[in-house]
């Protein structure tokens, strides 16, 4: 297990380099004039151009620019935006909010999704099962921004239960509805995945053995059926962490949450390489580590899988 973990950690390096380079190249290297629109209607002053060119090594070839940028990042310097703010400050302000939002969403999707899936999977055909199937289909069919806007309108504007835009440093309570919106799609998948997986296992031979042993029903379901059924669900949840953080952009927009979503969005509009690459690099790392944790967890859940 130790060697496997080490190998996986080493694999992070080329993936990290590859993704950051691609993002870097896309936002910065591939456009014609880095100063277009930077100084309003007017042409930027030669002094400004010179300063920016100097600071971002614009005269160097793309690869050299990238390597210089990378060198700075590795020493903890994420660079500055064009307006002079430290990117690390921006990230430090925005990241915790998005992480909080994503974790709330993850908890919501895991708890509601698994419970709904287990209940419908165990009961079999009937009202509960149909309810779960139809409601999840509904959530899957609806784009996230529609769910978000509708909930904001109904709960925030009409009923006044929530505020339509959350504060700069939101509490967990404030993030529950946005978290639900962010989780909605994955929640539907989790419910369906749990349901299918459980139904497959209901008829499994080892479940029959557990029944034949005369174990109590709760034990048969809770231990023999559930653990096997949750293996694919855990995999999905783990990989979903990355997707939730990246997918927060829309939800953050709808509820005016000052997370990384808005930051990336503005960064892209202004073609602000330092901001975009910095944030995406962190997202990539989160995603890779979440994946690694899932793979290790997988071996814990299923002893047939051994890494050595």
């Amino acid at each position: 297990m130790g060697r496997y973990t080490l190998r996986r950690l080493l694999q992070l390096i080329p993936v990290f380099l590859g993704t950051t380079f691609i993002v870097y190249a896309l936002v910065w290297g591939l456009r014609d004039d880095p100063f277009a629109g930077k100084c309003g209607q007017r042409e930027c002053s030669p002094a400004f151009k010179a300063a920016i060119t100097e600071r971002y090594n614009l005269d160097d070839p793309l690869i050299v620019q990238y390597l210089k940028y990378l060198g700075n990042v590795l020493t903890g310097d994420f660079g500055q935006t064009f307006s002079g703010t430290e990117v690390s400050t921006l990230i430090a302000d925005a990241y915790p909010i998005t992480v909080k939002l994503a974790l709330i969403a993850l908890v919501i999707e895991a708890v509601i999704g698994i419970i709904a899936g287990v209940v419908s999977g165990l009961r079999g055909r009937g009202f509960v099962d149909s309810l779960v199937l139809v409601s999840t289909l509904f959530l899957i069919a609806l784009p996230v921004f529609v769910t978000g806007l509708v909930l904001r309108q109904v709960l925030g504007v009409e009923l006044g239960i929530i505020r339509t835009s959350v504060s700069g440093d939101p509490s967990i309570g404030e993030l529950i509805v946005p978290g639900f919106v962010l989780a909605s799609l994955s929640m539907a998948y989790v419910a369906r995945l749990t349901r299918t997986s459980l139904m497959e296992n209901t008829r499994a031979d080892f479940v029959r053995t557990a029944v034949a042993k005369g174990l109590p029903r709760r034990r048969v379901v809770g231990v023999h059926m559930l653990r096997n059924s949750l293996i694919p669900v855990v995999t999905f949840l783990g990989t979903d962490i990355g997707a939730l953080m990246g997918g927060a952009i829309v939800t953050e927009g709808v509820f005016n949450i000052r997370g990384i979503g808005g930051l990336v969005y503005r960064g892209l509009q202004q073609q602000d390489t330092a901001t975009v690459v910095g944030i995406v690099a962190l997202l990539v790392i989160v995603y890779l580590i979440a994946n690694l944790v899932v793979d290790l967890l997988y071996a814990v859940l299923d002893p047939r899988i051994r890494y050595d």
């Binding site: 557990a210 034949a212 005369g214």
Partner: protein
């Protein structure tokens, strides 16, 4: 005294409407304490469904018990309180399955799965239960039981897995053990070891044993009585010796004849029973075996032969059973060849 287990006129259907399959059409048998009953038949003859109904682990739906009775020590089980039936499982009757790899839960250690019964049926602590689990593995002659108790099913060989399965079934010291094709998934040498083990444990504990199989060779060595099943019915029922000496049903004769033998001439064709078992949703009128029977005459297509007594406990469901008994087997059976 009532027999240990008595199955009487058991009827089970699967599915509904036009698709209804009559899987059991009045199955009756009994097992006494310390006795081995072999239930013999092709796939789909209803051997396993009968056993699952006895254990109370038949999937309903799709299965549906439409009639008959199952009595354990005189107590009616069909329609009994589910909790009562659960308590009988493991404690009074236990079952081992054909494919031990899929019958054991892949994500828990073998010991854990045996220990569960001690924990949840005997109220033992986790630790004590694990010690008992190791003792059970030792009982079924698994070497290094103390170490292996922590291993997972996939780390066991096929034979060892079936031993572990047996250990698990015997944990609560049941009075009746149902072995559903326990050796089918194993290779021949291991088969013999497992059968020997089962027979030995049955003798030591005075258990009743129902041995479900389609393998005549397996049955010959250990069975006291044999019930032959076809299309959800018992077609012949007698003690092992007279079945081999005087098979009364053409189906039984066909089964015996279809076993290839060491003294067959090389290159001689195999002698399978022609045709296939009937679809259970369209069992032929009359004797269900008549489309495949070389001796079938008009009466076979019209009248269902009842399972009737031929004398000295030999029962068969064939209109011409007496004639076949008198004839003896078509050829000396494997059993006789072996014991000569």
């Amino acid at each position: 005294m009532a027999p240990l287990l008595e199955v009487d006129d058991l009827r089970v259907e699967f599915g509904r409407g036009r698709e209804t399959a009559s899987v059991l059409n009045g199955v009756s048998y009994h097992v006494d304490e310390g006795e081995t009953l072999a239930v013999l038949g092709e796939s789909g003859s209803g051997k396993s469904v009968t056993a699952q109904t006895v254990m109370g682990i038949l999937d309903t739906p799709p299965g549906r018990i439409t009639g008959g009775s199952v009595r354990f020590r005189g107590e009616e089980l069909l329609g009994a309180d589910p909790e009562r039936r659960r308590l009988l499982r493991g404690e009074s009757m236990a079952m081992i399955f054909q494919d031990a790899l899929s019958a054991l839960n892949p994500v828990y250690s073998v010991g854990f799965q045996i220990a569960e019964q001690f924990r949840f049926r005997r109220g033992m602590s986790r630790k004590d239960a694990m010690v008992k689990a190791a003792e059970m593995l030792d009982l079924v002659k698994i070497p290094n039981a103390k170490q292996r108790v922590k291993e997972y099913p996939h780390q066991f060989s096929g034979g060892m897995r079936q031993r572990a399965m047996i250990a698990m079934s015997l944990a609560l010291d049941p009075e009746l053990l149902i072995a559903d094709e326990p050796t089918t998934a194993l290779d021949v040498t291991v088969q013999a070891q497992i059968m020997e083990l089962l027979d030995e444990l049955r003798r030591e504990r005075g258990m009743g044993l129902i041995l479900i199989t389609h393998d005549l060779g397996v049955v010959a060595e250990v069975a006291d009585r044999i019930a032959v099943m076809y299309a959800g019915r018992i077609v012949e029922h007698t003690d092992a010796a007279s079945l081999y000496a005087h098979p009364a049903h053409p189906y039984t004769r066909g089964l015996m004849d279809s076993v290839p033998r060491v003294d067959d001439v090389a290159g001689a064709p195999l002698r399978p029973i022609p045709g296939l078992p009937p679809s259970l949703s369209a069992i032929p009128d009359g004797c269900p075996f008549h489309p495949r029977c070389a001796h079938a005459v008009d009466v076979c297509t019209d009248e269902v032969p009842a399972l009737r007594e031929l004398g000295s406990g030999h029962q068969a469901a064939c209109h011409f059973a007496e004639r076949f008994v008198a004839e003896g087997p078509d050829r000396p059976t494997t059993h006789e060849v072996v014991s000569r």
